[in-house]
């Protein structure tokens, strides 16, 4: 399958720079913490996805290749999410 051209790599690089500038700008703007956290997580995820899709060529790979990074990531995230009720309980008891 055709890989990206240098032009595509430069375009992705431009997006990565713009998203990094947005991250720093959001922090400096002094917005409410909830909005900052949401925006930062969204931009970080977008940057990671752009690198994985274009620089690591995952966009051009088959489903089997997606499973290799996807499954451990999913299991790790589920593990973290599974601990959140415990955190909420702990914080509620502490209040």
């Amino acid at each position: 399958m055709a890989h990206p051209t240098p032009k595509t790599y430069l375009a992705i690089y431009g997006w990565l720079l713009a998203l990094t500038a947005l991250e720093v700008g959001v922090v400096l703007a002094g917005w409410p913490q909830a909005a900052v956290v949401t925006l930062l997580l969204a931009t970080a995820a977008a940057k990671a996805l752009l690198i994985a899709l274009f620089f690591m060529h995952l966009k051009f790979e088959g489903f089997a290749m997606w499973l290799l990074p996807g499954l451990p990531l999913l299991i790790g995230l589920l593990l973290v999410l599974a601990l959140f009720p415990d955190i909420a309980f702990h914080l509620t008891i502490g209040m």
């Binding site: 890989h3 690089y13 990094t20 922090v27 900052v36 620089f55 790790g76 973290v80 601990l83 702990h90």
Partner: protein
């Protein structure tokens, strides 16, 4: 550019080297997801947590992010060059990528020294513990990446990697981009949020 022409196919349809690298990266994903997940659990489970912006040098860390993102671009351009048969251009991009990795490590070392002198050490509090542990493990991965890049640079200069044999550069690139992805996430979650 056709992937199948230059790399011999296997029973899985995926070159062995690429499959091996992705399996290795899967273990690395579990490693860093565990570390970052632990940080998130500790942070949300703690009633009080310092604001990263008050403790860390965010400007320095943002510069480091730019350095690592730029190194990902040079790595990708290096792979593109070798696929087009331009081995010397590829070698230059590989060396540039390794140098950018060294710049990242230099800035990190300066950051650690600066933080340490300001009294923010690994034993200061839970945040200090997490910061040095996460960024330290990441920096060790960058060191490994620089060594790998210099090895690939040497192979390319000696004519061992060509337009017909560029698989190892692609696999090395996968590792380097992964290190970049981890930093992108660490920068947002650990240094900004």
């Amino acid at each position: 550019m056709n992937h199948a022409v230059t790399v011999p196919l296997t029973r899985t349809g995926i070159p062995d080297g690429k499959l091996g690298m992705w399996i290795f990266l899967a273990t690395e994903i579990m490693f860093f997801t565990g570390l970052i997940g632990s940080y998130i659990v500790l942070r949300f489970g703690s009633p009080a947590w310092p604001r990263p912006g008050d403790v860390l040098n965010t400007t320095l860390l943002a510069v480091n992010t730019l350095v690592l993102i730029t190194s990902s671009l040079t790595m990708a351009l290096g792979l593109d060059a070798i696929q087009r048969g331009r081995a010397r251009v590829c070698a230059r991009f590989l060396l540039l990528t390794a140098l950018l990795g060294c710049v990242f490590l230099g800035i990190k070392a300066f950051d650690y020294q600066h933080m340490w002198h300001r009294g923010f050490t690994i034993t200061t509090n839970l945040f200090g513990n997490c910061y040095y542990l996460l960024t330290g493990f990441h920096a060790l991965h960058v060191v490994g990446g620089v060594v790998l890049l210099l090895y690939l640079w040497g192979l390319t200069l000696r004519g061992r990697l060509t337009a017909d044999h560029w698989g190892r550069i692609e696999y090395g690139g996968l590792y380097w981009h992964f290190v970049d992805v981890v930093w992108v996430l660490l920068f947002a979650i650990l240094c900004l949020v």
